[in-house]
């Protein structure tokens, strides 16, 4: 169906009607209705086990709803960072980003990757196997991977987890930079951190 217009210029990026997801006999999400328009910043909150991760996986197409309807954009427009940075531990940071860069057909791959590694403070570690990186460094690398193809829709699951103070500040300014031009869906248990940027909030129980 055609995407519904919500705001003056806002086109619906994600549209959920009666969305539900169950794993076997366990119901994780039920009867969710929401919309994310182009340019929105949706914060998803809720206690552990409330289905934040499941909802985000549905929004990027990694999982399929078991009831209701869900419209999401083409996956080439989506950048997703979950609990795992999704990098091969036996390959170096550079090799990982190169692999994704090729799969996403990034033009000027070398420059783009170099720029991201610089910005997230990983340039010096670029030739180390990612298996030897700290959890915080891996999270930064995961962010590089997510931003690599300049996605129109960014879906981030607890992006501040395992980042140190410096990394968290870096992410703050990165999100502020992305805010005007991107659509964001961010799951967090600490909504105050992104409250300044948020345009809407979805609380899961």
């Amino acid at each position: 169906m055609a995407p519904k217009r919500i705001d003056a210029g806002g086109r619906a990026m994600i549209q959920a009607r009666g969305l539900g997801k169950r794993f076997g006999d366990k119901r994780v999400l039920a009867e969710l209705d929401f919309e994310v328009a182009d340019g929105d910043f949706l914060v998803v909150t809720g206690p552990n086990g409330s289905g934040k991760t499941t909802l985000l996986r549905l929004c990027v197409g990694l999982a399929a709803p078991t009831s209701g309807e869900l419209d999401i954009p083409d996956r080439s427009l989506i950048g997703y960072l979950g609990h795992d940075p999704l990098v091969y531990r036996e390959l170096t940071a550079l090799e990982n980003l190169n692999l994704y860069g090729r799969l996403y057909r990034i033009l000027q791959r070398r420059e783009r990757i170099g720029m991201l590694l610089e910005r997230f403070g990983l340039w010096d570690a670029r030739n180390e196997r990612t298996g030897s990186l700290s959890r915080g460094m891996l999270q930064r690398l995961g962010l590089c991977r997510t931003l690599l193809h300049e996605p129109a829709l960014l879906v981030l699951d607890e992006p501040y987890s395992s980042l140190d103070a410096e990394g968290a500040t870096l992410l703050d300014s990165e999100l502020a930079d992305l805010r005007p031009t991107r659509t964001l869906v961010v799951a967090t248990h600490d909504p105050t951190r992104v409250a300044r940027l948020a345009s809407g909030r979805l609380a899961l129980a």
Binding site: R75, Y80, D84, L86, R89, E90
Partner: protein, 213 residues
């Protein structure tokens, strides 16, 4: 088409690079197939029959392939990396093709040791046998890779793959052993080719459904 093949090549090269770094799968396959041949020597009765030995060669190849296939998606499974590949905008079947290519290379290398070892321990190997092994490899890798992706989604993954794979491998065994033992192997080779084409198309078309919901 060129992009599709390029994607598959990038993914296959990644698997070869991972193997070069980790050196986990290929040495195990080589050691396993040689050990199996030695065990088979003692399993055969004193007066060795060439036919029985050839049959066991096929068993050794099949189980070595299973060993490699069981490892095929380990890297992807450990840190949910399949998510990363599935999210990438390339055709999902390119993930399958890349994995098939990498597994095929590993299996070929293991056989490059196994066939001469068989020649040394048991008896000579003729052209039709080599041709049959190559044809069987294609089918084994095409079907096995899809089933390995399937099995890695289940709970009892290590157990599941052989159970899923062996019934589908029976026709390969019939064709392979037939081609290696009869005088006119043409129809067995033709059958193996038919199996390859049919099941490769089926696996190629259905891989997307295996890795997505």
């Amino acid at each position: 088409m060129r992009r599709y093949l390029a994607d598959a090549a990038v993914l296959a090269r990644k698997d070869v690079l991972l193997e070069l770094r980790g050196r986990e799968t290929l040495p195990a396959m080589v050691l396993f197939v040689v050990s199996a041949l030695v065990v088979f020597h003692f399993a055969l009765p004193g007066e060795q029959s060439r036919l029985a030995a050839l049959g066991l060669l096929w068993v050794a190849i099949l189980f070595t392939a299973l060993l490699g296939l069981g490892r095929a998606f380990v890297a992807e499974r450990e840190h949910r990396l399949l998510d990363g590949l599935v999210l990438a905008p390339c055709d999902r079947s390119a993930i399958w093709l890349g994995k098939v290519a990498a597994t095929f290379v590993f299996l070929l290398l293991a056989e490059a040791v196994a066939l001469p070892a068989f020649q040394l321990f048991f008896s000579g190997i003729d052209g039709p046998t080599v041709a049959a092994v190559l044809l069987a490899d294609v089918g084994i890798c095409a079907v096995g890779t899809l089933l390995a992706a399937m099995a890695s989604a289940g709970r009892a993954r290590e157990l599941l793959l052989p159970l899923l794979f062996l019934p589908l491998a029976i026709p390969i065994m019939i064709g392979g052993v037939g081609a290696a033992t009869v005088e006119h192997p043409a129809r067995y080779l033709g059958f193996l080719g038919l199996y390859d084409v049919l099941f490769a198309i089926l696996a190629w078309a259905s891989f997307e459904y295996v890795v997505t919901e």
